[in-house]
């Protein structure tokens, strides 16, 4: 089974963020593999370990993002493709999906896995856009995967419960981080990753002229979230502070 996983390098959201003049100051040392993509890699590895096959990761990003490809290779992915763009290009999910679609247009595969969303943009668009461009079926927000006879059984988290959906190959699935704990690369994995093949391409080589690509959504700037301030903090005898809070909710906050 041939599994492709689309992975993105994102800033670590748990690192402190700074906004200056409407711009986000990112700490270049704290860039990580998008957590949802790590889960997608993990799941693809588990399935190919069980049923045979190969996992290839595809990343669109600047030079620096190649470290994230290495991370996925160290987890166990067999090979990688790096589609190189410059840091300055303000690309949205729609353009990422277009580039990925041109990459996949002449590839053969059973499944393409994406994250359910990128942790930095929280968009969650790329996977289903890609499926629509490739005209293949897709399932989003997977929390469990199983493989049998050329189809995946996807457990999907819906609004009120889970749905079991049968997805035939070729198809796209987007993964939640709720389906597994991504493995931490072993020392051996890290050593082996250095010898694995990474193929570097440009959008140009895929027939996409980035200068001509129309980017229809734009980020005008960033701002602090209107902060919630800490309110009253009650410490002391549990019985007293519990009863006091009940009355505060009734008389002061008026929410009962």
């Amino acid at each position: 089974m041939k599994f492709y996983v689309c992975i993105k390098q994102v800033p670590d959201v748990s690192a402190p963020l700074q906004i200056k003049d409407g711009q986000l100051i990112q700490d270049n040392d704290r860039m990580i593999l998008n957590a949802y993509d790590a889960s997608a890699v993990e799941e693809a590895l588990v399935l190919t370990e069980k049923h045979g096959g190969e996992v290839e990761v595809v990343l669109i990003g600047p030079e620096k993002a190649s470290e994230t490809i290495r991370k996925a290779l160290a987890m166990g992915a067999h090979r990688g493709t790096h589609i190189l763009i410059t840091e300055k290009q303000k690309i949205d999910s729609a353009v990422y999906a277009r580039i990925l679609a041109s990459y996949f247009s002449d590839k053969e595969y059973d499944f393409i896995a994406c994250g359910k969303q990128a942790q930095d943009t929280d968009s969650g668009l790329t996977g289903s856009m890609l499926a629509e461009h490739l005209k293949i079926p897709y399932v989003t927000n997977a929390v469990g995967l199983d493989y049998e006879n050329h189809h995946l059984t996807v457990k999907r988290q819906g609004d009120i419960g889970q749905e079991m959906i049968e997805l035939p190959a070729p198809g796209v699935v987007t993964c939640s981080n709720d389906m597994n704990e991504p493995r931490i690369p072993s020392l051996k994995g890290i050593m082996q990753s250095k010898r694995k093949e990474v193929n570097t391409l440009t959008p140009d080589e895929l027939g996409m002229k980035m200068e001509d690509v129309e980017i229809k959504t734009r980020i005008l700037g960033f701002e602090e979230k209107p902060g919630r301030k800490p309110g009253k903090k009650l410490e002391g005898d549990p019985d007293k502070i519990a009863r006091k809070t009940a009355h505060l909710l009734d008389e002061e906050a008026g929410v009962l």
Binding site: V13, L17, S93, A94, K116, Q119, D120, T121, D122, S123, G124, L125, G127, S128, E132, P137, Y138, V139, N141, V143, T153, K155, Q157, G158, D159, I160, G161, Q162, E163, M164, I165, E166, L167, S176, N177, D178, K216, T217, R218, I219, L220, G221, E223, K225, P230, G231, K232, K233, E235, P238, D239, I241, A242, R243, L248, L249, D250, A253, V255, L256
Partner: protein, 325 residues
């Protein structure tokens, strides 16, 4: 005249409040700009819900009906949406941000060749498209965004807008969409619903959420008792959906649901950013945690520092007195 079209989500036989919030905002924007506000219901029994849309200043309700829409599956819904959009050519196609809409937003945008802005907390319609705000980076900061196009798709976080009351008698137009069976390649096998008749979290006025501090059945019983007393929806942190203590549908946060209740009570939850991402639209946040330095206290309006097993019983008892139980 241009139309702002709002997709109405139906869940368990009820229109979702979050859709009505988006609809209310769209009607206000339409009235401001001299556009029409219309609604679209895609459901097994779509027409039956149109009568519930009489107070949102609508000119028109489009319905697409049929057995293909009994359960959510993306292929038929996309087909219906594309058909209606091709017909109406809305300036804005607006959704409430739900797992159902997240499932189709990207594919619909790609299919129509138009931009999409998901999960917005504010939006306004402009001459060239839509602009507004989106929480990003696990909802730690706000990005000001803009989409350009004759038609733009957006989705809006629950709790972002209030409901309006603007009586009107919209015309109901049923749109026929033929959903070819062979086109539906992915097949829904089974629906595993959350057990019990729970309050829909994303619309609950009160949410009681349990975290890892809730260690055992005794703790869960206290949570259930508090929730019953306050007529609250029960939610959980990832720690407890992952452990299997609570149903995964109850997870609140970046991976889980966004809630916007009047009152949110976090019990034994540390307040990791990914959890907080789902709760900052709450009006009043109460936190019960034995660690005085837990980050949840940074955003709580009322913080009770203490052991939940010692705090909850008198808290529940006092609330009962206040409620006259």
């Amino acid at each position: 005249m241009s139309t702002l079209l709002t997709y109405i989500s139906v869940n368990n036989g009820k229109i979702k409040r979050s859709s009505l919030e988006v609809l209310s905002r769209c009607t206000q924007e339409a009235n401001k700009l001299g556009f029409k506000s219309a609604a679209l219901i895609i459901d097994e029994n779509a027409t039956q819900y149109s009568s519930q849309l009489g107070s949102y200043g609508l000119t028109k309700v489009y319905t697409v009906e049929g057995p293909s829409f009994k359960n959510h599956l993306n292929t038929p819904v996309l087909k219906a949406l594309s058909a209606v959009m091709n017909r109406v050519k809305p300036k804005v196609m607006a959704f409430a941000s739900t797992e159902g809409s997240k499932d189709i937003l990207g594919a619909l945008a790609a299919n129509q060749g138009i931009p999409a802005l998901p999960d917005m907390s504010e939006f306004e319609v402009t001459d060239t498209g839509v602009k507004g705000k989106r929480p990003v980076m696990a909802a730690k900061i706000i990005s000001n965004v803009e989409a350009e196009g004759d038609s733009v798709i957006i989705s809006v976080r629950s709790g972002s807008y209030d409901l309006i009351n603007l009586p009107s008698e919209p015309e109901v137009e049923s749109v026929e969409v033929d959903v070819g069976e062979d086109e539906t390649k992915s097949i829904l096998k089974e629906i595993i619903t959350a057990s019990g008749d729970r309050v829909d979290l994303s619309e609950a006025d009160v949410v009681v959420a349990a975290g890892r501090g809730v260690k055992d059945e005794e703790g869960q019983n206290l949570i259930s008792e508090l929730a019953r007393l306050l007529n609250a929806g029960i939610g959980a942190s990832r720690a407890l959906t992952e452990s299997g203590a609570y149903d995964p549908s109850l997870q609140i946060g970046q991976t889980g649901k966004v809630v916007s209740p009047q009152l949110y009570i976090a019990v034994g939850i540390s307040g990791a950013i990914q959890h907080v991402a789902g709760i900052t639209n709450s009006k009043v946040i109460v936190a019960i945690n034995k660690d005085p330095d837990a980050p949840i206290f940074d955003i709580a309006d009322y913080g009770i520092v203490g052991d939940l097993y010692k705090v909850l019983p008198p808290f529940i008892e006092e609330l009962k007195k206040i409620k006259g139980e």
